[in-house]
Symmetry: C2
């Protein structure tokens, strides 16, 4: 059952670095950003390795995809608890927001017979750094 650190069958500097980059961020990251971050530590890291590692991490449920209204897919660690996202329209960065501000709960039934199982909320605006 041990699988806290090990991702594939072998340990590799590339994978450790990629996972570290995702874990150190204060919000979900683009594949491209992960690549740039990880390259600082593993200079000749290929983008294909980033995508392969992302796929592996998704399969192992260590990370999850976050797709917001800009259409780009970002990735964040699982186990962050229930939270939502804030996207800065200036710098396009995405931040985690703890807690929930939705007035309807999962499990509710909407008029018309729509059964709600989950929800997503994104706030859009300007982040402190860009204000």
């Amino acid at each position: 059952m041990a699988k806290k650190k090990q991702i594939g069958q072998r340990q590799s500097r590339q994978r450790d670095t990629i996972l570290q980059a995702i874990g150190e961020a204060d919000g979900p990251l683009l594949a491209q950003t992960i690549h740039e971050q990880a390259k600082r530590r593993v200079p000749n890291l290929g983008i294909a390795t980033v995508y392969r590692t992302i796929k592996l991490l998704l399969e192992h449920q260590r990370i999850q995809p976050v797709v917001l209204s800009d259409g780009q897919t970002r990735y964040e660690l699982v186990g962050l608890g229930h939270h939502h996202h804030f996207r800065c329209r200036v710098c396009e960065r995405v931040y985690d927001l703890p807690g929930c501000m939705l007035s309807i709960s999962d499990g509710a039934q909407l008029p018309g017979g729509f059964q709600v199982e989950a929800h997503e909320v994104t706030l859009i605006g300007v982040c402190p750094g860009c204000a």
Copy 2:
């Protein structure tokens, strides 16, 4: 100022049909779905024309893109009023939901200095047809 029906400089059966397909839907549509719908009336309609028309309609602010967590871009008419979306995890169709169920309003300031200007909510679950 007149531009209620006219999209480009000339009228064309293709554009009218594409706009009609988007307008008749009960939720935002994929480019592919728009193409399929419109092809019923204009059989040899090319996908490039669909994308060009979408682009034109976006520029003219007649439609707007809707990107949900499945990563696919859909399009809906503007002027539907404030609303959110429901995505069925079974059939992957997206429906409009009137009203708002968010407990924080645009214009609010979040702890940390995040200025909220807009928001998006998506409910995920099972639609009446798939239940």
